[in-house]
Symmetry: C2
Subunit: 261 residues, 2 copies
């Protein structure tokens, strides 16, 4: 009863293209497990009409392994690279969460958009990670994004679910299991940005020195206020993206009564 | 150079349907992570022409959660259940590898095939797990299966790669990191069976009391000899399926020079 049927044929997109930038920091050289995850993500994206995939590796130059997966995928793509500076990478013994991951790579994707897109070009930008699972319906939800749209994300942050709280069609708060004082307590998988808004704010970017958990806020704070967020997914009651359980250590608190696609 | 391009439009299938039975033992009730994995697998299978998906849960009856994912997926499916008997389940403290997983469920899928298919019906049967990654090309490779076809599997058994060794177009041995004395040292993801061969051997089944690692052999031994295996994937030199790194504990030995889709 809580499972809405997914349409077999997605509706005609309102916007001619959407851009996705999966920028999970790939080790250099990429390992076979990354190849498998890229293959799997590409099979998801191949179902999405009018999509362009921007892939940014954490490397001095794009690798043949990733390039081969992209070329074979059938998905329209752009393959870039941006190396994380050594001072932000941490040493061999440094914990992986010391600095936010993927900031340089996402900023490279933003630069590509600013370099290649017209200011009035329609489109929606979403930051996808290759180890998440995406409902096909999620991509249809985000097509109508004007400013910044938001929705729940399953299995992140030590909770079963993180989501914006909506009243009267507006975001009035956030359900999150971790540091609720963050300006935008949202996972990277939980929002999309209208391309025109992004291009109208040429300085908006991810802060590679942001405190842990504040990477999303460092970017979104340059674009909107929390009250301007546009709820999607039936007022943020449906789950269309699932992340892997990260190292946040929290328990799996039950949040009954939620649906999902 | 080692990445063959994947055709955007798969070739017309030679056989009218293929059956896949992902029978990873699902906890009862299924948890959200299983839902995400089923969603992701369904997006892969939705690309495969002429496919029928048989899903068997380890439960007394099929669950609404899994049924909802299947109904929304757009993939042709049959939803069944088969409960693992308590004496084969192991107690709360028993190690998960004490008994082979998924034997009852795969046998239920075999019974469904024997109950519903005509003896001369063409088709190919493959046992898919929802935590593996499948190249779309793999499904085209297996369509021509007459008896039992085989190919490499990445990231299993403590090696980067397990694969049959081929000489003169025939399987002459196996590269495996674990118990090479097994009659068929193959992962469940590394073979497919022609439906007619299966239906001609009504007693072939998975032995739920098989020793660890011998589940595949218990089934294949009732169908063929190792010398009759049909190599696919360019004489077993291309990787089209990747499993997760299991608990076998081995290191990641490098196996250079291998291609993959």
């Amino acid at each position: 009863p809580n499972l809405s049927p997914l349409p077999r044929t997605p509706p005609t997109p309102r916007d001619p293209w959407a851009t996705l930038s999966p920028t999970r920091t790939l080790p250099c050289p990429p390992r076979p497990v990354q190849k498998a995850e890229l293959v799997r993500l590409s099979q998801t994206l191949l179902h999405v009409p009018a999509l362009h995939w921007v892939v940014v590796e954490d490397a001095a130059s794009p690798s043949a392994l990733v390039g081969g997966v992209l070329a074979a995928s059938g998905v329209s793509f752009t393959h870039l690279s941006a190396e994380t500076p050594p001072e932000l990478r941490g040493g061999p013994g440094a914990p992986s969460w010391l600095f936010p991951r993927g900031a340089e790579q996402r900023n490279r994707a933003l630069r590509w958009l600013r370099d290649t897109r017209r200011p009035d070009e329609p489109g929606v930008v979403y930051f996808a990670d290759d180890d998440n699972t995406y409902s096909l319906r999620l991509f249809e939800e985000m097509r109508s994004t004007r400013g910044v749209s938001v929705w729940p994300v399953g299995l992140v942050g030590g909770l079963r679910l993180e989501r914006p709280l909506v009243a009267g069609g507006r975001v009035v708060g956030f359900h999150t299991g971790w540091r609720p004082e963050r300006p935008f307590p949202l996972d990277m998988a939980g929002f999309a940005v209208g391309l025109r808004l992004l291009l109208a704010h040429p300085r908006a970017r991810f802060d590679p020195r942001a405190e842990r958990g504040f990477l999303e806020s460092s970017f979104l704070g340059g674009l909107v206020t929390p009250g301007q967020l546009e709820p999607r997914a039936d007022n943020c009651t449906q789950v269309g993206v699932w992340g892997v359980l990260g190292g946040f250590g929290g328990g799996l608190g039950g949040l009954g009564g939620f649906g999902g696609w």
